[in-house]
Amino acid sequence: MELNVRNFSIIAHIDHGKSTLADRMLEYTGTISQRDMKSQVLDDMDLERERGITIKSHPIQMQYQHKDGKKYTLNLIDTPGHVDFSYEVSRSLAACEGALLLVDASQGVEAQTVSNAYLAIDNDLVIIPIINKIDLPGADVTSAIHQLMDLVGCDEKEIILTSAKSGKGLEDVFQAIIDRVPAPKSLPDEPLRALIFDSIFDSFRGAIAYVRIFDGEIKPGEIIRFFTNSSSYEVMELGYFKMGRVKTKHLVSGDVGYIVGGVKDISKIKVGDTITTKNKPAENPLPGYREIKPMVFSGMYPVDAEDFEDLRSSLEKMTLNDSSLFYEAETSNALGFGFRCGYLGLLHMEIVQERLEREFDQELITTMPNVRYQAIMKNGKMIEIHNPSYMPEAGDIERVEEPYVKAEIIVQSDYLGNILKLCQEKRGIYKTTHYLDTGKVQIIYELPLGEIVFDFFDKLKSVSRGYASLDYEPIGFRPGDVVKLDILINNEPVDALSWILHRDNSFFHGRELCSKLKELIPKQLYEVVIQAAIGSKIIARTTVKALRKNVTAKCYGGDITRKRKLLEKQKEGKKRMKQVGRVEIPQEAFLAVLKMEH
């Protein structure tokens, strides 16, 4: 029996109208009344709405009355729209049979259009190509059609033209979902296999798994087991998604829904893992599970040392909802007690830091981000380095390996030369270029992630006048001639300023960092010597001369209050400094390296 169910996602580059299209579909199917409609209802964090990006997927079920007289259940699984979350995107796609590939008519195909399309193809999804925003003045529908045909190898007549804003073409989209996306296979009698594509934490029910049931069925009271860990839980509640969660008696092969199993720790529910039952276990998990590991790290310290515990509890709360965020306590000689945090990527890092400041009211000093390195030691052991200051002695290391990514850049062909030059400068290995149509070109490079983390994205935008789009995926570790650059202030190394970088860049960057620090460190009562060193070799040196004068010359006439207030103001400024040895360093200095001009 074929199920009247369709499971699908919408994939697109940022700002191509994914959330607007989802909103229109919800409205059209009466899933949400127009009255309750906020724009982009599916992005429920403020931050997401502000940035117009989706961070977390939020599934929803719609009922659609087809012209053929049958009623269909449509499960829309929204996907995060950024490169950092590509694994999550891929698992959401794995839960579907089809994907709407949305392209903005004025922008054409962009980097994430391509990477998302490939993810969908890898997951054997039926792709429905859609060109959106056709009403916009800058729309170039013909060019967009050619780019899409080239990208997914489809016929022109397969492409649907829409304006999600006005609702134009919406009916065609629904038609295509029913007609082209295959119904899920119905295998209700097999042992249970449910794919976890997301999870959230609910303060009353604990961690909740969002699942797609591939095989079998599940009811409350049954004992479930996760494939990646042996612990088992009793199903307390099941349901599917409307605007909120709706309880149900069972979920069956083909369904998309949620499972509450009294799991207290969200890290037990791993995206991509398979759930089966204890009584009738499946032999093998669903394919595609990967342990996700943070790619980018940075130190995070409270501005006021007394807020350390506060920061810890905020991080704890954050990880309840974001299991991809990693943190562990660390100490720094300059910044005191804090945390080393690991993120999926740069955007993820920015989001975490911004949420901590906004939602949790934390005042933070964050250190320069770095990637994860692998040091292969002379004794054959491998050490992972998350923090530059833990880099082993050079003499003990056989070699260091650094993470590489395959970067895909799409840009107007006028800027091709600039982009190639930039990628070469960033130690890129050229792979291919591919013309999407006459005006646009796709460039593939292999690049060290460490270079991307540094300032690649800003540069990319500046050499292409903002046109270039970038996507990347990790492709493993490769040996690299990287060294640790230390900054010494009055001969004391400042751990929070250590930096791992390529040997060829170290001399230049060392000198530059010293001069930036010289600008940022105010004159003190003694001379401050700033040095950059690799191992014991000093490669750059500069000094901040001793303060010559800081005196209130006149103190007569009895206006002592004003003099006191001037002193207090100076004292307040001093309080916000961090002490290294006898030198006071302002907070901005710890991010100096990011503010360098190149």
Binding site: A546, L547, N550, V551, T552, A553, K554
Partner: protein, 390 residues
């Protein structure tokens, strides 16, 4: 015996100097009369509060108090004598600019008990006086001192400014030696500061003047310290030198946290617990005194912490420095702990001296004293936080 220092602010000048941020308006004789009426009313309001105090020092500043007429000066003095007990007045200072003024007026001052004159010379170099926007010339200064010699005051103070745009080490040395030749027993050398809102600080913002490099200013200061020491002057406060026994008692009262009452617009007062200041507007001042109200703008109650900070910075400004026992009584912290933390400050240059009882700043230390004081305040906070934790 309860002692009180009295300050009177005369808020008029012929022309405002470009660096000055003290309150003054342009001179207008009828308005001076109104100011005097108002001042007498203010004296009247206060006299009951201070009936049992003896006025210890009296300082008549401004503005340019030398613009007062003899009649006005006598009227002011009479009302002071009626209201307050002046029987034990030890020091009576009048500030004056070196402008042409008849000898009779100076005689009058001397005869009515003024025993100290403070002359705002500022520089002996013509173009430096112009940069500062002073109305007098170098010749006026010499004329003034000729008159002063003839009248014969007990004590004369002379003020100079260093760090004037265009000033050189050499021109500063010249000013200093002219000042020494005047034979005064008190010298105040102030480093020019660019106070917000003054014409001079606006010129600086607009890049129209070149400020003197702080290394040069420090050299000017240290050379002056050496020269005045050799000439028998006692360096008793950051910017003040005197022949032994001629230190300004009035200013000392400020620095030692004694009581003072300020009369006139923008004058500050302190009674040991709180500090208040008068309105900074002659019109407001006239208005309030007319209806019998105190012309006070605001008042602040000093907290324990305020008092601590003031004690620290005022004492460290003076050559007596900070007494260990007073510090320990006030802060309840063993002074050795501060010294241990401070030792690193003396590595590059000697900024302070401690003989076990008194902690004093050297001239080099004085020149960075705001930073040193803040460092010590930071240590005090650290020590207290450690106490809390343990």
């Amino acid at each position: 015996m309860k002692k009180l220092s009295l300050y009177i602010h005369f808020p008029f000048c012929l022309k405002k100097c470009r660096y000055c941020d003290f309150y003054s308006e342009s001179f207008d004789l009828p308005k001076v009369d109104k100011w005097l009426d108002a001042l007498i009313r203010e004296i009247d309001i206060w006299k009951t509060d201070y009936f049992d105090f003896k006025i210890y020092t009296l300082f008549f500043g401004g503005g340019s108090p030398n613009l007062l007429s003899s009649t006005q000066f006598i009227r002011l003095l009479e009302s002071l004598k009626t209201a307050f007990d002046m029987s034990e007045l030890t020091e009576f200072t009048v500030e004056t600019n070196p402008v042409k003024r008849d000898r009779e007026f100076l005689m009058l001052l001397k005869d009515t008990g003024v025993n100290r004159l403070n002359v705002g010379v500022q520089s002996f170099i013509e173009n430096e006086l112009q940069t500062l926007g002073r109305i007098h010339t170098v010749t006026d200064v010499f004329d003034m001192f000729e008159n002063l010699d003839a009248v014969g005051f007990d004590h004369i103070g002379l003020d100079l400014i260093y760090g004037i745009p265009g000033q050189s080490i050499d021109s500063w040395r010249d000013s200093l030696s002219y000042a020494l030749n005047c034979g005064v027993d008190h010298l105040s050398l102030y480093n020019l500061s660019y106070e917000e809102g003054t014409p001079l600080s606006k010129l600086l913002e607009q890049d129209k003047i070149n400020p003197i490099d702080s290394d040069v200013e420090k050299q000017m200061y240290l050379e002056a310290c050496q020269l005045l020491l050799e000439n028998g002057y006692h360096h008793y406060e950051i910017s003040n030198w005197a022949k032994p026994g001629s230190e300004s008692r009035h200013n000392r009262a400020y620095w030692e946290g004694k009581r003072y009452l300020g009369l006139g617009p923008a004058a500050h007062s302190y009674d040991g617990k709180s500090r208040w200041w008068n309105v900074r507007s002659i019109d407001k001042y006239l208005e309030l005194t007319k209806i019998g109200q105190l012309p006070v703008d605001s008042q602040e109650e000093l907290t324990e912490q305020d008092r601590e900070i003031e004690h620290l910075f005022l004492r460290l400004r003076t050559s007596n420095g900070l007494s260990r026992s007073q510090f320990e009584n006030l802060f309840h912290i063993d002074f050795d702990r501060i010294i241990n933390k401070l030792i690193k400050l003396n590595i590059d240059e000697e900024y302070w001296i401690f003989d076990g009882h008194r902690f004093k700043l050297t001239p080099g230390g004085w020149f960075v004293s705001d930073s040193i004081i803040n460092t010590i305040l930071g240590f005090i906070e650290e020590i207290r936080n450690d106490h809390k934790k343990s």
